[in-house]
C-alpha cells in the first residue's frame, strides 16, 4: 500500500490518511458498503446482465443445442423471425393485448383503491380480500380456470350454470370462437388487480390531507376533486404502475401456456411472443438459442419503445402543468 500524503507540506495527522484509509472511508463505511452490496451485484451480473449480453451476442450466431456460438450468421436469425408469420402475429396480438389490458387493469385497481379509501369500517378486511388472489400462483389459477370455470364440457362450472338457465354451453377454450379471451383476461385481472390496488392505495396515502381540506373549503368535491387533485398527485405512482403493467403484458406466459396449451402443442391464436419463442427455441426437444436470443432482443426493443413513449406522455403532462 503506498501512502502518499494528501498535502505533503502539512504534518497534521488527519491529513496524512493513507490511501487504504481513504478507500475504507470513515469507520470503514466504504468497506461495509462493498461487503453488503457485492453479493447482490455479483448475483445480478451472473444471473441477469451476463445472460442478457450473452443472448444478444448469440442472436448473431447459429447456436443449436449449444450455448456457444458456432457459425456467424449475421442478421439471419432476426430475418427468420421477422418473416415468420406466427411471430409477427403474436407480436401484433400482444400489442393489442397490452393496449387493452394496461388501462383496464389500471382502471380496476384505481377504482378499488378509491373505493377502499372511502370505506370507514372493515378497511383492512376488504384490502386483504382483494389482495389475497395475488398470493395465488398463475399456474394454479390457470388450472382452476381451465378445468373448472371455463371447462368446455357440459359439466364445466359456467357451462352447467348456463345450461341450468336454459342457454347452450360454450366451448370456452376450444378456439372455434374468441371466448378464450374472457377466460384469459378475467384471470389476469383477478390475479393482478389486488396488487396494483395496494400500490395505488400507498400513492393515495401520500396525498396531503390539507389539499383536500382546502379544496373542500373552495367547494370542490366528487369528480372535480378526483380530476384536479387525486389524479395529478398520483401521477408518479401511475407512471410506475403502468410501466409494470406494460412489461407484465409483454411478458405474459404462465396463464396463457397453462390454459391454452394442448398436449405438446400451443394453438396459433392467443399466443404471447414469449410462448412462441419458447415453442420454437427450447420448447420441444430441440434447442435453438440463437433464434431465442434474437426473439428476446426484438421483444426488448418493443418494450423499450413502448416504455419511452409512455414516459414521454407522462412527462409531457407534467411539463404542461408546470
Amino acid at each position: 500500500m503506498t501512502s502518499t500524503p494528501a498535502v505533503p507540506t502539512t504534518s497534521e495527522p488527519a491529513r496524512r490518511r493513507s490511501l487504504w484509509a481513504r478507500i475504507r472511508g470513515r469507520q470503514g463505511r466504504n468497506l461495509w458498503f462493498a461487503l453488503f452490496v457485492t453479493p447482490f451485484v455479483v448475483g445480478l451480473l451472473v444471473f441477469v446482465y451476463i445472460p442478457i449480453v450473452w443472448s444478444a451476442y448469440l442472436s448473431f450466431f447459429d447456436a443449436r443445442a449449444t450455448i456457444r456460438p458456432t457459425t456467424f450468421v449475421g442478421l439471419a436469425n432476426y430475418e427468420y423471425l421477422l418473416s415468420d408469420p406466427l411471430f409477427r402475429n403474436s407480436m401484433m396480438t400482444f400489442i393489442v393485448f397490452a393496449i387493452f389490458i394496461v388501462p383496464v387493469t389500471y382502471a380496476c385497481s384505481l377504482g378499488l383503491a378509491l373505493m377502499l379509501d372511502n370505506v370507514g369500517r372493515f378497511r383492512a378486511f376488504f384490502r386483504s380480500v382483494f389482495f389475497i388472489p395475488t398470493a395465488c400462483s398463475y399456474v394454479v389459477a390457470a388450472m382452476v380456470w381451465r378445468l373448472s370455470f371455463f371447462n368446455g364440457a357440459r359439466f364445466g362450472l359456467i357451462n352447467s350454470l348456463l345450461t341450468t338457465l336454459g342457454f347452450n354451453g360454450v366451448d370456452w377454450l376450444g378456439g372455434t370462437n374468441s371466448w378464450y379471451w374472457v377466460a384469459l383476461v378475467s384471470l389476469r385481472l383477478w390475479l393482478q388487480v389486488g396488487y396494483y390496488m395496494i400500490l395505488l392505495i400507498a400513492g393515495l396515502n401520500q396525498i396531503p390531507v390539507d389539499t383536500y381540506e382546502a379544496a373542500a373549503i373552495d367547494g370542490a368535491s366528487g369528480w372535480r376533486r378526483l380530476r384536479h387533485i387525486t389524479l395529478p398527485q398520483l401521477r408518479s405512482t401511475t407512471a410506475a404502475v403502468q410501466m409494470l403493467l406494460l412489461i407484465g403484458a409483454f411478458q405474459a406466459f404462465d396463464e396463457f401456456y397453462n390454459m391454452m396449451s394442448t398436449a405438446g402443442s400451443y394453438p396459433p391464436y392467443a399466443r404471447p411472443p414469449l410462448v412462441h419463442l419458447y415453442m420454437i427455441s427450447v420448447g420441444g426437444s430441440q434447442q435453438d438459442l440463437g433464434l431465442g436470443g434474437a426473439g428476446t432482443m426484438i421483444l426488448t426493443a418493443i418494450i423499450v419503445v413502448f416504455g419511452l413513449a409512455q414516459n414521454w406522455w407522462v412527462t409531457r403532462a407534467d411539463r404542461r402543468q408546470a
Binding site: G43, R68, Y80, G152, T176, T262, A263, V282, G283, Q287
Partner: protein, 434 residues
C-alpha cells in the same frame, strides 16, 4: 456458539461465491465439460464399473421396479437407475446434455436420438451394438432411429394409437366400422346422442394428436425423399383438412370430455362411441366393454388416401460424455438389455400395460398382443405404421399445427396457410442440414 454478525456475513458471501461457481459450472456450455462431473443420482466418480441410466416416468404400475430389477441383474457394471417424474422428460434430457453436468451414461429418448443430439455429437453411434440382430427389429421402428446410415438408438418398446369403436352402438345406428373418413364422419353423426358424443380425439378437437395423420391418411409423407421440402402440398391433402373442418362443426365430433385423448376414460365412461387413443388403454377398455368394442386404423381421406396409424418408440441412447465417462460400458449394457435379454424385453412390453416389443420375433411371445384387438394393433403398425420424420423439427411441426388450427378452427384458406408452412419448412430444412 456465538454466531456474530461477522460470521453471518462470512457465511453469506461464501454462499454467494458458491452460487456463482455453480452457475459458472453449468453456464460454461457445450458438451465438452461433461466428463468427471458428479451425478445427481449417485455421486459416483469415473470408473469402469459404474453406469447411470435414465428413464422417463412410465404411467403403468410396476415399471420402475422392473427396470431396477433389470439393472440389478447386470453383472458387468453397477447400474444406477434414475426415474424422472414429470411430463418434460425430453426437455430435461436436452438441457442436461447441453449443460454438461450429470449426463447419464445411458438414457431413453423418444423415437431415438434427436437430430440435435446426433449433430452435436452428444450421443454415440450404436450400429455395432445392434450388429447382426438388425433384421430382428421392426424395420420402420429401427429406420426411425437411423440417420445417414448409422443407428443412434436401440428401440426398447413400441407404442401406437388407433381408433376404438363400440360395436353395439354402431350396429344399433346401422353403420359399418369406418374405413374412409367420409364414413367416419357419417358414422359419428349417426351414433351421436345428447348423452354420447360420436368421435373423440382430444379436448383440442383432435388437432394435436391427429395432425400428422392428415398427411399420412391422405396418402403422403411429411418430407420429400431428399429432405428439402414438404411432400404433401397436393389437393388431396387440402381436401382432407377441409373435410375435417366441416366434420368438426357437424356435431359428430366431441370437443370436450372428462379426460384428454391419451386417456381411455371418455370411451370407458360412455362419453363417446368412438375414440382415438393409445394401445396402452386397451386393457382398461377390454375390462369395461369385453367384446363390445373393435379397433381400426385412422380411415383414409379421399380415393388417393390410405389407412394409417402412428407409432412411437423410446430408444436407448449412449451419451458421448456421460458422468462416468464409460462409453464402452454403456454400449455393452445397452446390447445386453435391449438386444440380448429377450425375456426382459417381453416382460417390459407385456407385463405393465400393453406395448409391442421392438423385436418382431418377440411379438408372438407377448400374450396381450397375441390375439384379438392387441394382435390387430401389432398388424396395423406393420401394415399402416408411420413415425414422425427425424427432420420434422419442432419449428416445422409448430408451424404445421398452427396452419391446421387456422384452417379447421378459424376457417382460413388451406392452400394459403400451408404455403406459409412450406416456406418455413424449406428455410428450416436448409438451416438444419449439415
Amino acid at each position: 456458539m456465538n454466531f456474530s454478525r461477522r460470521h453471518f456475513i462470512g457465511a453469506a458471501t461464501g454462499l454467494a461465491a458458491a452460487a456463482v461457481l455453480t452457475a459458472c459450472g453449468s453456464n460454461s456450455g457445450g458438451v465438452s465439460t461433461g466428463s468427471g462431473s458428479s451425478s445427481a443420482s449417485g455421486g459416483s466418480s469415473s470408473g469402469s464399473g459404474k453406469l447411470i441410466q435414465w428413464y422417463h416416468e412410465y404411467g403403468e404400475n410396476g415399471v420402475q421396479e422392473a427396470v431396477n430389477r433389470y439393472a440389478k441383474d447386470y453383472k458387468d457394471a453397477a447400474v444406477t437407475v434414475k426415474w424422472n417424474p414429470g411430463s418434460d422428460y425430453m426437455k430435461l434430457v436436452a438441457t442436461t446434455l447441453l449443460s454438461g453436468n450429470g449426463i447419464p451414461d445411458v438414457f431413453e429418448s423418444e423415437n431415438g436420438a434427436t437430430l440435435d443430439m446426433i449433430q452435436q455429437g452428444q450421443v454415440v453411434d450404436l450400429t455395432d451394438v445392434v450388429g447382426d440382430d438388425k433384421d430382428k427389429f421392426s424395420k420402420p421402428v429401427l429406420d426411425r432411429m437411423t440417420y445417414q446410415g448409422k443407428i443412434w438408438a436401440v428401440p426398447q418398446v413400441v407404442d401406437m394409437q388407433m381408433l376404438y369403436y363400440r360395436k353395439s352402438v354402431l350396429e344399433k345406428a346401422k353403420v359399418e366400422p369406418p374405413k374412409t373418413f367420409a364414413d367416419l364422419a357419417a358414422a359419428a353423426k349417426a351414433v351421436k346422442t345428447s348423452a354420447m358424443g360420436g368421435f373423440f380425439a382430444g379436448n383440442d378437437g383432435g388437432l394435436g394428436v391427429l395432425a400428422d395423420l392428415f398427411i399420412w391418411s391422405a396418402g403422403f409423407d411429411q418430407l420429400n425423399s431428399d429432405d428439402t421440402d414438404l411432400a404433401f402440398m397436393e389437393s388431396n391433402f387440402f381436401d382432407a383438412v377441409n373435410a375435417y373442418r366441416d366434420f368438426s362443426t357437424s356435431g359428430g365430433l366431441l370437443t370436450s370430455a372428462s379426460k384428454d385423448w391419451f386417456d381411455g376414460s371418455p370411451f370407458i365412461n360412455g362419453e363417446t362411441a368412438m375414440q382415438w387413443t393409445g394401445l396402452w388403454a386397451l386393457n382398461d377398455i377390454k375390462k369395461k366393454w369385453g367384446d363390445d368394442f373393435g379397433v381400426l386404423p385412422f380411415p383414409a381421406f379421399g380415393s388417393a388416401g390410405r389407412q394409417a396409424v402412428p407409432f412411437g418408440a423410446y430408444g436407448s441412447c449412449a451419451a458421448a460424455k456421460g458422468a462416468d465417462n464409460n462409453v464402452e460400458g454403456a454400449k455393452k449394457f445397452i446390447k445386453w438389455l435391449w438386444v440380448d435379454q429377450t425375456d426382459k424385453q417381453v416382460d417390459f412390453a407385456n407385463s405393465y400395460g400393453t406395448h409391442i416389443p421392438a423385436r418382431t420375433d418377440l411379438v408372438s411371445k407377448a400374450s396381450q398382443i397375441s390375439d384379438g384387438a392387441g394382435k390387430e394393433a401389432a398388424d396395423f403398425v406393420d401394415k399402416f405404421g408411420h413415425a414422425s420424420d427425424l427432420l420434422w423439427t419442432t419449428t416445422i411441426s409448430d408451424s404445421f399445427n398452427a396452419a391446421l388450427t387456422n384452417v379447421i378452427k378459424k376457417k382460413a384458406d388451406a392452400k394459403k396457410e400451408f404455403a406459409a408452412v412450406q416456406k418455413t419448412a424449406q428455410s428450416e430444412l436448409k438451416r438444419i442440414k449439415k
